[in-house]
């Protein structure tokens, strides 16, 4: 990987580095918003299904190549029939 890096045009190295940097930056900045996001997700989903609020897990995972928002929401029962 390192060898390949040194030989490619420098702007490609720049683009690749930037991508990784921004994934990290955005992930960090979002941690403050995570709580807010969690609250709004609960409200939205609760309209349709009854959920176990305490057991909800919401995470923003940033790895080297991508960022994912993962929500784990245990459902107790469906509130109304889906039309």
């Amino acid at each position: 990987m390192k060898l390949f890096r040194d030989e490619s045009p420098s702007k490609n190295q720049a683009v690749e580095r930037l991508r990784l940097i921004l994934v990290h930056d955005r992930a960090k900045v979002s941690t403050g918003l995570l709580e807010q996001l969690r609250g709004e997700i609960i409200n939205a989903i609760s309209k349709y299904v009854e959920i176990e609020e305490e057991a909800i897990e919401i995470e923003l995972n940033a790895t080297e190549s991508k960022a994912e928002l993962v929500a784990n929401i245990p459902v107790v029962k469906v509130r109304r029939a889906i039309e």
Partner: protein, 266 residues
């Protein structure tokens, strides 16, 4: 003997402070000095990127100030290439009030016992970020480009440095384009020093290699083909007390002229 604490500042943004810190730090380390570079631009972290160390940051300056990490050493990042060169990165997600001048002084006081040089990369502007960066410094390098607004801001900064009792800052003139100077489309060193009237530390020509070096995260001073790199190598030699003649506008070494007078005289 404690190390030298030097703040690199400019007033105006975008004139090359961070690049200067990265290249001077690397250049000094190449001469076997023990160097730590502090990115004092809280909220807009940049020095790590220019050094190519962006993926090694665990703790930052604010973590050290708030004692989130137990010792400064945990936050210091060793350079990829030179083992005597370290970086203390800025915090990315805080504002400039997250650290105080007093905290900066405490951190720098501890670092200068261990390092030959403490270089502080100052944020643009003249507000709290500037106060923080200058707080512990006893010397200053002012960076400017040959443009009216940059020179005006540099003048302001020199006045402020004098108010903070740093009386003899030195000047780096960055991004000089000899072809434009020759045509009379760009101010030269004499024009600028007529206004700023401080001792000249170095002249760095505009060089495409700087952009390439930032792309790669490898400071130009490491590159023997780079004119800007050569200028920074000369700057480092002058900082260490050597008398190095300035390159003339045409790029060949000049011997006589007002440049030497600027270096030797006051």
């Amino acid at each position: 003997m404690a190390g030298r604490v030097i703040v690199v500042t400019s007033g105006k943004g975008g004139v090359g402070k961070t690049t200067t810190v990265a290249n001077i730090g690397t250049g000094l380390a190449l001469r076997h000095k023990k160097v730590v570079m502090i990115d004092a631009d809280i909220g807009l972290r940049n020095l790590d990127v220019v050094m190519g160390l962006e993926n090694r940051i665990i703790y930052d300056l604010v973590d050290v100030a708030e004692k989130t990490c137990r010792s400064i050493n945990k936050a210091l990042i060793k350079d990829k290439r030179l083992s005597n060169l370290y970086l203390l990165p800025a915090a990315q997600t805080r504002n400039k009030d997250a650290i105080s001048p007093e905290q900066m002084v405490a951190i720098v006081d501890e670092l200068k016992e261990e390092f030959d040089y403490v270089l502080v990369d100052c944020p643009a502007g003249i507000e709290r970020g500037f106060d923080n960066a200058v707080a512990a410094a006893t010397e200053a390098i002012v960076v400017t480009t040959p443009e009216v607004s940059a020179v005006r801001d540099a003048d302001r900064i020199i006045g402020l440095l004098q108010e903070k009792e740093i009386y003899e800052p030195v000047l780096i003139l960055n991004r000089l384009r000899p072809d434009m100077v020759r045509k009379g489309d760009m101010m030269d060193v004499d024009d600028i020093n007529d206004i700023l009237a401080i001792k000249l530390l170095g002249i760095v020509p505009d060089d495409e290699e700087i952009i390439i070096s930032t792309n790669k995260g490898e400071p130009a001073v490491l590159n023997n083909q780079s004119k800007a790199g050569e200028a920074f190598r000369n700057i480092v030699r002058r900082m260490e007390g050597e008398e190095v003649p300035f390159m003339s506008v045409n790029g060949e070494p000049g011997i006589f002229g007002r440049f030497l007078k600027l270096l030797n005289g006051k």
